[in-house]
């Protein structure tokens, strides 16, 4: 075979092919170039010489027709390892049961956006993934047509079998060699949604058999020959830095290989890239290297370390005072301002102002943080659970002074992410440890490390003020006071932006030494509760129907006149109508109290209704009805799982989630002191998906934020009490039915 290269430096490989041992073919269709592709058919190579570790592709087709699809993005439980290959398989037109899925490795040249975050994998991959599958199909059909001497348009394809007008058939595996040598087409027509055979149908998790039989899948399961384990003793409090340590006893413990310190390279990195300084401590850390995980954990406990207070040790009490002070003060940055709220408030007939408060939250991924690193002169091998592999590979390269091409990063399945694994401070640590000990090593956090050395959801307080004039909402002012960082992106332009003439969003923050970051549905995970509780209370004050108030405001939104407004009032109104219908809103028996919420975030429109009953004098969440418009649903079975999980996670954290600090240190460090929602507290989740042909949007996050608001509004209906602080369970006096309600 002859290479068909034209200016290879400017046009990267779209296709690689190589012969399989049995004479088959491996084709890689690279996503990055799928919009402006160019074929390079490399000379066949023997399979034995093919480096699978460095072979990155979306599709492999063997001569027997077997299809392997590589899933490009990290899998954190959001289901993309199943749904992204489904999109490719649909357009490729193969039977889903014949597809074998493998996790792709990090390859910044050939894949785009290998990130698990922001509920964006499906939305942003939608066009490219479909094009990849469709172009491959087109080339396979063209190859068959050429062999038959007919036009491709005379051929049809179904599940990997191409048929011509005479009824002759060829399987993909039979024409794959010729197909690989064809020019990659520029424009390929994509399937119409009505013709989908794989998408919109239920597909089970592709890793299900491995999960139910306990096969190695996760970072904690990853092992290589000669690998040692590292437990890291980090500063006990945020603000502490290491002075000295004594590891005499630790070194005598069974299995201990060495006790070292790390930190120097991290400080160099932070000097170079200050953006990461809020995510990792710059203190030296003591690292115990041992033959097994348990030996490393045990020896870490007996390291005697002296720490000093470099910056003040903070507490939740102080944070509360500081954030309240910010809300009362005048140091805001304005994120959006329409009209003149000050004037509108001065002219208003009525004003409602409320403050909502939330605590720090740890992510508590079930799989504690961990990462493998093996730094050698040849390459830097990294493996483990990470939501942002490219970012971390770049930071490690920078830290070790290596070329990014030297970094080989494998993504394992993740035992949860929720934002914690966006940061990869543990990747940096593992790389520094391996660089120092010249050995393959896995850094493993204990649960206590995981909870005490987090990158937490920061405490936030919102103050919302609305003005009413002549029965209309004329002004709305949202103030945010947060630890470290404020809301970003389009959040200030979410509802009710565009609906109220005088509208303003102001933010202020306090810089803490506690590391904070994204937590499933950043900012909106609390803002939705605040805003939607506020609208309920506003409707009560205005003596109007709660849902009608929201609908009337939506009527005023004109996204076509304001590009910052990306939610669709029309889609939202349909979601609301469906939720009203399916939840039996307003038509419940007397013992069921309901709370309503509608919310837009992560490009998805959601409405939720909580059903609450009184048991033993207190409210209990029995059911959440959830209506979602996420456009085309790639995999309904997976989608429902995300929705159910997101809703229950939202209920759980608004009920119980709280991490307090004292002396710079979390007051809980394991599940005996930190409460997560469990089976008996989990409500039924009844889900309805809107049916339309809009491009798909994500589901990992958008059903979580509304849940807390739905619960709070239902609790108000049930008890007469309004909740302004999370977690709700912290205020047991408000979780009792008001005396007058009982009497009444």
């Amino acid at each position: 075979m002859k290479a068909n290269k034209t200016s290879p430096l400017t046009r990267r490989a779209f296709i690689k092919n190589s012969s399989l041992a049995g004479g088959g073919m491996v084709i890689g269709f690279h996503l990055l170039n799928s919009c402006k592709p160019k074929v390079i058919a490399e000379p066949s190579v023997d399979l034995s010489s093919l480096d699978y570790n460095n072979f990155n592709a979306f599709i492999k087709i063997a001569d027997n027709g077997a299809v392997t699809i590589f899933s490009p993005n990290p899998e954190i439980g959001q289901g993309v390892k199943t749904s992204m290959p489904m999109i490719i398989a649909e357009e490729l037109d193969v039977a889903w049961k014949d597809v074998y899925v493998e996790q792709g490795i990090l390859d910044t040249e050939n894949y785009t956006r290998q990130v698990a975050g922001g509920s964006q994998s499906i939305r942003q991959g939608w066009d490219a993934l479909r094009q990849t599958g469709a172009k491959a199909r087109h080339m396979l059909v063209s190859a068959a047509a050429a062999r038959w001497g007919v036009a491709p348009s005379e051929c049809t394809v179904n599940e990997g079998v191409i048929t011509n007008a005479a009824g002759e058939t060829l399987g993909y595996g039979e024409v794959v060699k010729e197909a690989a040598l064809l020019e990659v087409p520029e424009d390929v027509e994509l399937k119409k949604p009505k013709d989908y055979k794989i998408m919109r149908k239920n597909a089970g998790n592709v890793d299900i058999d491995k999960i139910t039989t306990g096969k190695p899948l996760f970072g904690l399961d990853y092992k290589t020959e000669g690998m040692v384990y590292a437990a890291v003793l980090r500063p006990p409090s945020f603000g502490h830095t290491l002075v000295s340590f004594d590891a005499t006893e630790a070194k005598r413990m069974p299995g201990v290989i060495d006790v070292i310190t790390i930190g120097e390279r991290v400080r160099d990195l932070l000097a170079d890239d200050p953006s990461f300084s809020s995510k990792i401590s710059s203190s030296d850390k003591v690292v115990v290297i041992a033959k097994t995980t348990w030996q490393a954990f045990k020896a870490k406990e007996v390291v005697k370390a002296i720490w000093e207070e470099e910056t003040p040790l903070e507490s939740t009490e102080e944070h509360n005072e500081i954030l309240t002070g910010l809300l009362d003060g005048n140091s805001f940055k304005t994120m959006r301002s329409d009209g003149n709220v000050k004037k509108a408030f001065a002219e208003a007939d009525d004003i409602l102002e409320r403050t909502y408060e939330s605590p720090f939250l740890p992510h508590n991924c079930m799989e504690p943080m961990n990462f493998f690193a093996h730094v050698t002169n040849e390459k830097v091998h990294l493996a483990g659970p990470i939501q942002t592999p490219a970012w971390k590979a770049g930071l490690v390269a920078k830290m070790l002074g290596r070329d990014e091409k030297d970094i080989h990063l494998e993504m394992t399945r993740m035992g949860g992410g929720f934002g914690r694994r966006l940061y990869g401070d543990f990747v940096i640590e593992a790389a520094e440890v391996s660089d120092k000990i010249k050995s393959p090593v896995k850094v493993v956090y204990t649960r206590e490390d995981d909870m005490e050395d987090g990158i937490y959801r920061m405490a936030i307080k919102y103050r919302i003020k609305a003005g009413i004039k002549n029965g209309q909402v004329t002004a709305y002012h949202l103030k945010e006071a947060a630890v470290n960082d404020n809301m970003y992106g389009l959040i200030p332009n979410f509802f009710p932006a565009g609906a109220i003439e005088n509208y303003q969003v102001d933010v202020a923050n306090y810089k803490s030494n506690i590391t904070t970051g994204a937590w499933r549905a950043p900012y909106t995970n609390f803002l939705a509760f605040a805003e939607q509780s506020f609208f309920d209370e506003l409707a009560e004050m205005m003596e109007v129907d709660k849902i009608q108030l929201r609908l009337d405001l939506l009527d005023k939104v004109k996204p076509e006149e304001d590009e910052r407004i990306q939610y669709s009032p029309e889609r939202m109104k349909k979601v609301i109508a469906k939720a009203v219908e399916k939840s039996g809103w307003g038509n419940q028996p007397d013992h069921i109290y309901q709370g309503f919420v509608n919310y837009y975030c992560h490009n998805t429109h959601v409405a939720e209704v909580a059903d609450v009953e009184i048991e033993n004098g207190g409210p209990v969440v029995k059911k959440i009805t959830c209506v979602v418009d996420c456009g085309i649903v790639v995999n309904p079975l997976g989608a429902l799982n995300q929705i159910e999980g997101g809703v229950i996670d939202g209920v759980g954290h608004s009920m119980y989630g709280e991490l307090d600090f004292a002396n710079g240190r979390p007051t809980a460090n394991n599940f005996d002191k930190y409460r997560l929602i469990r089976m008996k507290e989990a409500p039924i989740v009844e889900t309805y998906l809107m049916e339309n042909d809009h491009s798909p949007t994500g589901l990992g996050e958008p059903t979580l934020p509304p849940a807390g608001g739905a619960v709070a509004n239902a609790f108000k209906a049930a008890t007469g009490n309004r909740l302004y602080q999370q977690p709700f369970a912290k205020r047991p006096e408000l979780l009792k039915v008001l005396e007058k309600e009982i009497i009444g």
């Binding site: 998790n205 996760f218 991924c365 079930m366 035992g415």
Partner: protein, 153 residues
């Protein structure tokens, strides 16, 4: 370090570990049975659940001497061909999201159904209450345990 004779998934194994090594880490680091997961180390989350003589127990809170002479079953040994009714129900219902806690969930559910083959939903909830699923796949866990109970008849 002392040696212990452990019977894991029907096979006798000799391990040389310090006396305080939790069975969880013996399984994971010494016997390469990594299906049993580390979640909290203090018996609070259930990710490390195994069967000891058929009873669901937290392997993070057991020492080797406590299980010597007893029959240990891990997720890897629950069935020959991934065909235990609980495993099949987990697949049918498509329970996992991240999947990390599911081995523990399956081991808790399978031991529970041995004791109570025809449970009410309330009994299922009580039985599964000790196992945390951070992805909150609780509705599907509940459905899958009920499905498995029906299929075990």
């Amino acid at each position: 370090m002392p040696t212990y004779q452990l019977k894991v998934n029907g096979v006798s194994k000799t391990v040389d570990v310090s006396a305080d090594t939790p069975v969880l880490w013996v399984l994971r680091d010494h016997l390469d049975l990594v299906g049993t997961k580390y979640g909290c180390g203090i018996g609070q989350c259930g990710a490390c659940t195994i069967h000891v003589d058929g009873v669901a127990m937290r392997s993070c809170s057991l020492t080797p001497s406590q299980v010597e002479g007893r029959s240990l079953t891990t997720i890897e040994g629950l069935s020959e061909n991934n065909d235990h009714p609980v495993q099949q129900a987990w697949k049918e219902v498509d329970v996992p999201q991240c999947g990390y806690c599911q081995a523990g969930q399956i081991m808790t559910a399978s031991a529970f159904l041995e004791q109570n083959p025809d449970p009410s939903e309330e009994e299922v909830k009580n039985a599964m209450h000790g196992n945390i699923c951070r992805c909150a796949s609780y509705t599907r866990i509940r459905t899958a345990v009920m499905t498995a109970a029906q299929n075990m008849d």
